[in-house]
Symmetry: C2
Subunit: 504 residues, 2 copies
C-alpha cells in the first residue's frame, strides 16, 4: 500500500479511557461505529493511529459504548502515552500495514537465518510497537527452537543496543551485572560503593523487579531516590564516581523490556536472548569493562557448571566484538543470598554489611567482596590478585559506607528502610538438616506477601543449607503490610510444600 | 498449588461490559480495586474465574472505572459467554495456576518432541482457553521452526479430533475439502449436489471466511439457512443424501479455529498444522472417505507441484492411520476460479453452472466435475474411470440442480442471492495479454469492498489468464453496499498496483 492508500482511513477524536493493559496499546471503538464497517475493521484488528505526526500501532477492541461518543475512539494508557499523552481532536485510523520485517521472521521460522540488516529492522519495528505479542512470541520461539548462533546473537545485541538512547562518558567506566534468578542477591550497592571508593567510575543503572520480589532499583528506592534523569546521573557520577539509579527512564535498549515481557509469559529465558539482553544494555550504557555474576544452582537461572561455563564463554566472546572486556564469575546459586528477600529487607542486609554489623550476613559480604575484587582488578584500580585485599580494606575501614551515603545524598538524600507492619513466623513441621532451599518458592512467598509493590514486604530466612532444625524452630518470618497479603502468603506456604527441604 | 490455595482468591460480581475482543476472554477490574492489590494481580495477569461450577481463564486489564461499581468485575463478550452467558452475583477470582502442559511445549521449544499424551493435554488446555495467545504462538512456531514429524502430526490430529464433538453415521459418508487459498473456488455446492444425486451420503460442513472474502458457508447463506443444529443436519442428510451447513456451531475440532486465528496473525500456514487441521475436522465429522483439492500456484497456499505432491503424500498417509481413505487432486491455482469473488457473486456462478446457463464459468464447471468424479469413484457410486461421465450426466440432465434445491429447501428454503447496490468498473490502463492474476490482491479488493460481511459485496472479473486486453477495457467490476466501502476498494485498486498483470 502506498501513501495515498494509507491516507484513506477515518477520522475520530481520542478519549483516554484509563485502561491499564501493561505494555500493549489497545484502542476501543463503539460496536456501532460506522468507521469499523467502512474500514473493514473487526475486533483484534491491528490498526494504525496517526495524529500530529505521531504514529501508534494498536489492537482494536469494540464496545464500551457507554464510555464513548459516536465520533470518539477510546485509548488505553499505553496508546495514550504513545500518542503524546494529550487529547487529539483528529486521529486518523486505518489498517496497520503488514510489518515488513515479519517477512524475515517468517523466513527464520521456516529455516533461514537472520542477518544484521534483518535484525536491525526487526528490533526497530519492535521498539516502534509494530509487533503484536503473538508476533513477538513467534520471533523469540523461533530463536530458541533453532537457537540464535553467535553471528545472530551478535547482530541482535548490536540492533538492541542501537535502538534506544546511548550514554557516552569522557572517562572509562566499568559495570557489573548478575544474570539473576537468585533472591536476595543484592551485591550491587556494596560493589558500587567499594569501586567508587577505590576511584573507579561505575554509573550503575538497575532494573526494577520483573518476575522477582525485588530488583536493585526497588531496594535502593527504600533508602534514596532512584528515578534520575540523565543529567543528574552524570552529575552524581562525576561527583561521587558511581550511582545506583533506575535504568527504566533512560530508554537503554528499550527492546529488551519488550522481549522480557514475552519471555516471562512463556517462562523461558533462552541463552541468545539473555546474552543480547545483558550486553545491549551495558553497551548502550557506555560500559567498556564488565564483571558478570553467574549464579549456578538447581533452582537458579543457570542450572549446571557446564552451562555456566558455556554462557560465560559466549558472553565474553560477543562482548569482545563490541570492545567490551567482560569477566564472568560463576557463583553458588543453591540458595538465596543473605537472610532476606524483599526490597527494604534486602537493603537492611546491605546496610548491615556496609556498616560492619556483627550479625551482617557473611555470604552477602563474601559475594560482594569477590565481585568488588574482580571490578577493582578489571578496572585497573589494583594489580591482579590484589583486588580482594583492597576491597576488604575499603569495606572494613568505612570508606565504602561513606561513599554509599554520599551517593545517596547526591541522588536526593538517605533514609533508613521501613519495617513492615505485620510479621508472622513460619516454623518447621519436622526436624532435620536443611538439604535444599527452593529459590523459586522463596521468591513466590515474598511476592504473595506483597513484594515488590509493598517495599517493606517479603521474608527473612532463619534456616540455611546445612543448618540443623528442630520441629517448631522458625524457618522464616513473613513481612507484610496488609492482613490479606499476609494470609495469602501463609496460604501459599501451607500448600506449596517444601520451600525448605529437611533431611529425614 | 493445591485446592486449598486455589480456594483463596476474591469474590466479585460480574458485569457484562459488551467488549468485543474476538476470541480472547478479557476481564476488567477497577484501577482502585483492593482485590488486585491483595491478590497481587496486575494488568495482563492471567486470572481464573470460577462461578457456579464454570471456570474461565482470562487476561486482566484494569480501568474503565466509570463502568464498574467497586465490587464488580467487567467481562468481555468472550468471557461472558464462557461463564454461561448470565450474570453471577459471586465469581471467584484468583491467579491462573501455571498451565502444566506448557511444560511440554517448553520442552519442545528446547529440542524435545511431543508424544500422544503431551499433545492430548496441550489440545485439551487450548480448547479450555488456558493458553494465552503468546503461548499459542510459541506452540505453533516451535512446531514450524522444527517441523512436526509424522508421529507428532498424527498425534496432533488425533488430539484435535478428540477434543470436541464427533459425528457418527449409520451409513458410510464421504467428504471433500479444498486446502484453500484460491478466491472463487466454490466447487463444494456443485460437488455435493452431484454426489447426493448419485446416491452417496455427503454431510458437508463448511467454515465461514477466515482471511478470505468468502467461505462456502458464507456463499450458501446467500441462498439458504446454514446455521443448523446436529439434529437438523442428520435429517437433511437422511432425506437428501447431503447437506451444505456451517460447521462452526458443531464444535468439530474446536482447537482448529484457535490455532488458525494465531496462524493468521503470523501469516503462516505450516504443513503439519494444515494436515492436522483438515483431517481432525473430517475425522470428527465421521468421514471415512475424503477427496482433497490442492490448488497449486505462485499466489495460492501451495506454491509448487513438488510441495503439492509432498503434502498429498503426507495427508494420505496420516489419513490412512485413522481409517480414512483420502484421495488428493492437484489443481490449477494460478488465478481465481469462475468469474466472481464474494459470497453472493460466487453463488451466482454456482447457480449458473447448476442451471447449465450458456455463460456459466467453464473453469468452475470443469473443476467441480473433476472433483465430483473423484468423489463418485472413491464413494463407490461408479467404477474407476467412470466418474467424469456420470458426474457430467447428473449435472447436464438437471439432477444436480434439483438435488441442490431440495437440499436448500430441507435446510430452510431457497432464495436467489442479492445483487449489491453499487457497482464500479475498473478498466485497464494499458494494453496487452493477461500474464498473471494475484489471488491475494483480488481477495483483498473483494474484502475492501465489504465481503464477506456484506454478502453481496465483492468483484466480478472480466479478464482471465491469456486474454487480450486493450487500454480502457474492463478488468473487473467492484460490487459494494456502501459508497465508503466502494471508495476504499477503488483506493486500494489504484494504489496496490497490479492485481492483474498485462504483458508489455
Amino acid at each position: 500500500m502506498d501513501d495515498r492508500h494509507e491516507q484513506s482511513g477515518a477520522i475520530l477524536r481520542t478519549k483516554r479511557i484509563g485502561l491499564h493493559t501493561q505494555r500493549e496499546p489497545i484502542v476501543v471503538m463503539r460496536s456501532d461505529c460506522p468507521v469499523c464497517r467502512s474500514e473493514g475493521l473487526a475486533p483484534r484488528s491491528q490498526v494504525l493511529l496517526k495524529a500530529d505526526g505521531r504514529e501508534v500501532a494498536a489492537i482494536l477492541f469494540q464496545g464500551a459504548d457507554e464510555l464513548l461518543a459516536p465520533n470518539e475512539i477510546g485509548l488505553s494508557e499505553a496508546a495514550w502515552e504513545l500518542l503524546g499523552g494529550i487529547e487529539h481532536e483528529r486521529v486518523r485510523i486505518s489498517h496497520l500495514p503488514p510489518v515488513e520485517s515479519m517477512g524475515s521472521v517468517r523466513g527464520r521460522i521456516f529455516g533461514g537465518s537472520l542477518g544484521q540488516t534483518d535484525l536491525a529492522r526487526i528490533v526497530e519495528d519492535v521498539v516502534a510497537g509494530r509487533y503484536s505479542d503473538v508476533q513477538l512470541s513467534a520471533f523469540i520461539t523461533a530463536g530458541t527452537a533453532v537457537p540464535f548462533d553467535d553471528e545472530e546473537t551478535f547482530a541482535l545485541t548490536a540492533a538492541m543496543a542501537g535502538a534506544g538512547d546511548r550514554l557516552d562518558w569522557e572517562f572509562d567506566v566499568i559495570d557489573k551485572h548478575s544474570v539473576g534468578g537468585l533472591p536476595g542477591n543484592r551485591t550491587t550497592p556494596i560493589v558500587v560503593a567499594i569501586a567508587a571508593a577505590a576511584g573507579l567510575r561505575i554509573p550503575k543503572t538497575s532494573s526494577r523487579a520483573i518476575t522477582s520480589p525485588a530488583g536493585t532499583a526497588d531496594a535502593m528506592e527504600t533508602v534514596t531516590k532512584v528515578d534520575l534523569d540523565l543529567d543528574t546521573i552524570r552529575k552524581v557520577v562525576e561527583a561521587e564516581g558511581g550511582c545506583l539509579a533506575w535504568g527504566g527512564a533512560l530508554r537503554l535498549s528499550p527492546a529488551d523490556d519488550i522481549f522480557i515481557g514475552v519471555e516471562r509469559q512463556l517462562d523461558i529465558d533462552p541463552e541468545g536472548q539473555l546474552i543480547a539482553s545483558v550486553l545491549s544494555k551495558k553497551i548502550a550504557a557506555g560500559a567498556k569493562r564488565l564483571v558478570l555474576d553467574i549464579p549456578v544452582g538447581p533452582t537458579a537461572k543457570v542450572r549446571s557448571q557446564a552451562a555456566g561455563h558455556d554462557l560465560a564463554k559466549r558472553m565474553t566472546g560477543i562482548a569482545a566484538r563490541f570492545g567490551v572486556a567482560a569477566h564472568c564469575l560463576l557463583s553458588d546459586g543453591r540458595q538465596p543470598v543473605g537472610r532476606s528477600v524483599g526490597p527494604a529487607l534486602e537493603m537492611m542486609d546491605v546496610l548491615a554489611v556496609l556498616r560492619g554489623e556483627s550479625d551482617a550476613p557473611a555470604d552477602l559480604r563474601d559475594r560482594a567482596l569477590t565481585l568488588a575484587a574482580a571490578v577493582l582488578e578489571l578496572g585497573g584500580a589494583v594489580g591482579r590478585g590484589r583486588g580482594n585485599e583492597r576491597a576488604r580494606q575499603l569495606l572494613d575501614d568505612g570508606s565504602a559506607l561513606r561513599r554509599f551515603e554520599s551517593i545517596c545524598r547526591a541522588q536526593g538524600g538517605f533514609r533508613e528502610p521501613k519495617v513492615a507492619r505485620l510479621h508472622r513466623i513460619v516454623t518447621a513441621s519436622g526436624s532435620g538438616t536443611v538439604q535444599a532451599v527452593d529459590n523459586r518458592k522463596i521468591a513466590r512467598l515474598a511476592k504473595f506477601a506483597g513484594a515488590p509493590d509493598s517495599p517493606s514486604a517479603g521474608l527473612r530466612l532463619h534456616a540455611r543449607l546445612g543448618d540443623s532444625v528442630n520441629r517448631g524452630d522458625p524457618l522464616f518470618t513473613l513481612h507484610a503490610e496488609t492482613a490479606a497479603e499476609l494470609n495469602y502468603a501463609l496460604d501459599y506456604a501451607a500448600s506449596a510444600g517444601d520451600a525448605i527441604t529437611l533431611s529425614k
